[in-house]
Subunit: 418 residues, 2 copies
């Protein structure tokens, strides 16, 4: 089965927004056993959209388009696809009622522009939009020249992620289950830290070779501070093959593996802390609240995370964290001594089991010969005392913050696991 | 001029990573006057990559591929494209020296796997990788049937963003300037908050109509809590046309416009605070440090941002922010009264000019009939006193945090501008 995604939107081609649909739809479809073979993004002009959909129809069994269903003048996908397929647009009373109701519930007048959203291509299956106004649409495309029924579906979804995602789960998943039985397909990703991409492959490939001969596919993906090892197989023995491969990789990479599949490091940390009924407090300088924000992205974080202090100014470090002004003067705010006092201070003030502290130079300014941009001290305090590590994360400001947060969380993960 | 991007990587098709290259490259190219006409992502298998590149070559003047240049077994782009174009791979001594040096400087042995990176297609221009090992490659494709020289270039860039981005700026930009003179093209985006997408269009379209007849293109893009209005024009009068359009939109949408183009709300807030020499402190509960993290993403934030407290537990709210236990008991942690005390408390403790406080229910758990998931109280304290607003942001946890942070920062922006 051949699946293609067509993302429409001039804002994509101008680079004004990030295309999050690709990842989200590809992952959901892969989980259902349908690996996307091609994804295409084009501007929302007539020629481009029709050319991309026409080409996709010539290859794929399932085409999903995103965007261009809304009420504004650059929302053209519905009209263009109806024209391409030779379908009339007809008024749909259910959509009309849904949109009336949407605005009535919010006590706002219905903008006349939303009229266009009530017209749908003749014969289309309509997905009412639980979180917006524009409906999704699905059309079976029959090939008049073919004698066997070979289902081919074109599904149109609205552009905003908070409309597209619930609609996919509520309406597209049932359609796929009804029209396309998923093939057996297993994909497992082991998430590692602390070893480079080439070295990871060198360490595992010889031992995985017998499994590759039996049909296992291996992929490697380097990310800042992490390397993903992906194990993929299809067919009846897929689960067994991937399971055996996972055992091999686990044995070789051991504690460098921090999680599996969609797990985030912060989820693993929160889970471990919760299992051991331990609590955490944070003292952040250069990461500016990012570690706290990552921890609180995890539902249930409130069980283990007591809170944190973002001590950007020196005065804040003294007042809230009990860092001594003598230490600040003697060693500077970016120093191992200050990191240690921050960790001890925040642990004591919050009364937590563990405390992490970070202080460093995120850049682009503020570096010196002795402490260049990217220098960062991380301290970890626990009942066992306090330790400090120094790293040089010489990247742009955003990457610096992410990598530093990952190093701190990874250290905490190992300490909690130990 | 026709530009296409081909992103390769099975991890993209499986939805394991987000394709940030599309946005980044599209934006950079648009800024140089080259709007990307199509972006395609395919798995890193021979058939798919060669098919996608062959099709792109049939249409485009410039093709940029990303990924598949690394040292591991799934890095196939270089070999496949050389094969497609009938070019031999030859060892490049400059690349060899660069890679030796890369590992020597880091005191690590060079993995043998990196050998493949030293081979490049015959005749290719080589871009040494300032932040990694795999070189970028550029090849001019001449059409033997054509009599006029019609430059067509194929550029291959490595997959990791921290390698691709500096390489694009250092090596691809000069190539483009040398080979393709950019056309005049102006794109301006006005960033608005507080009005829905349909309403924004209704408000501005009639007044923009005369400019549309003169060649202006308008686009609208809805994002959580924000709508972008994009004004685009080409040719000799582009700057004038877009300038006139901007005046019209500014007049109609006024203070709903918080910024332009690539500006982020947090950048605008930091800039305004710096201009007025005012300082900020934060007390965050349900946003868990996200507001602080967004503020500290801005270089120079340390000038205006004193720090913040992430008070997740009630005890933290009392201890660090001076929230009274009576207030917590009487109104609950998620209440306007607590938000006000948090804002006043953190303003006093940090001695800042402005203080924002947020407390709410991010979900998925913790909602009640009276205070459902998504309820959030935001308080703003300044020399003028303290005010509180309540919002219902009934979205998933991550969107809840982002939207709440945006509402808080937007309120602050208007207060600082006032």
């Amino acid at each position: 089965m051949n699946v293609e995604i067509v993302n429409t939107g001039s804002e994509l081609m101008l680079g004004r927004v990030l295309n999050t649909h690709q990842q989200w739809l590809c992952r959901r479809l892969a989980d259902l056993g349908h690996v996307v073979t091609r994804q295409v993004a084009v501007a929302d002009t007539g020629t481009e959209i029709q050319a991309a959909v026409r080409e996709a129809l010539s290859r794929a069994d399932l085409i999903i388009t995103t965007g261009g269903l809304g009420p504004t003048s650059d929302d053209l996908t519905r009209e263009l696809i109806a024209e391409l397929l030779g379908k009339k647009l007809v008024k749909n009373p259910a959509v009309q009622a849904h949109i009336e109701n949407f605005f009535a519930k919010r006590g706002r007048p219905r903008p006349q522009k939303t009229d266009v959203e009530t017209f749908v291509p003749e014969g289309a299956e309509v997905f009412l939009n639980a979180t917006g106004t524009a409906p999704g649409l699905a059309m079976e495309i029959s090939d008049p020249k073919s004698e066997i029924r070979n289902p081919k579906w074109l599904v149109m979804l609205p552009g905003p992620p908070r409309e597209l995602r619930p609609m996919f789960d509520a309406s597209v998943v049932p359609l796929l289950k009804r029209e396309f039985a998923g093939e057996i397909f297993v994909c497992r990703t082991l998430l590692t830290t602390g070893i480079g991409e080439s070295r990871v492959q060198e360490m595992v490939e010889a031992d995985l070779q017998p499994l590759v001969r039996r049909g296992l596919e291996i992929g490697y993906c380097a990310r800042p501070g992490a390397v993903d090892v992906r194990l993929v197989a299809g067919g009846a023995t897929a689960e067994k093959l991937v399971g055996e491969a996972e055992v091999v990789v686990q044995r070789i990479l051991g504690e460098n593996i921090f999680g599996r599949d969609d797990e985030e490091l912060e989820q693993v940390v929160v889970k471990l802390l919760a299992q051991q009924k331990k609590t955490l407090a944070l003292a952040e300088s250069c990461t500016g609240g990012l570690i706290a924000s990552r921890i609180t992205d995890v539902p249930g974080a409130s069980e283990v995370f007591l809170g944190g202090v973002v001590g950007y100014a020196n005065a804040a470090k003294e007042k809230f964290l009990g860092v001594r002004s003598k230490t600040l003067k003697q060693h500077g705010a970016v120093s191992g001594a200050v990191a240690q006092e921050m960790a001890l201070g925040v642990r004591e003030k919050f009364g937590s089991d563990f405390a992490l502290a970070v202080t460093g130079i995120a850049g682009p300014g503020g570096g010196t010969a002795e402490k260049p941009v990217g220098t960062v001290f991380i301290a970890l305090a626990s009942a066992a005392g306090v330790e400090v590590k120094v790293f040089l994360n010489a990247w742009d400001r955003a990457t610096f913050k992410q990598v530093t947060a990952t190093q701190a969380l990874e250290w905490l993960r190992r300490a909690v696991s130990a």
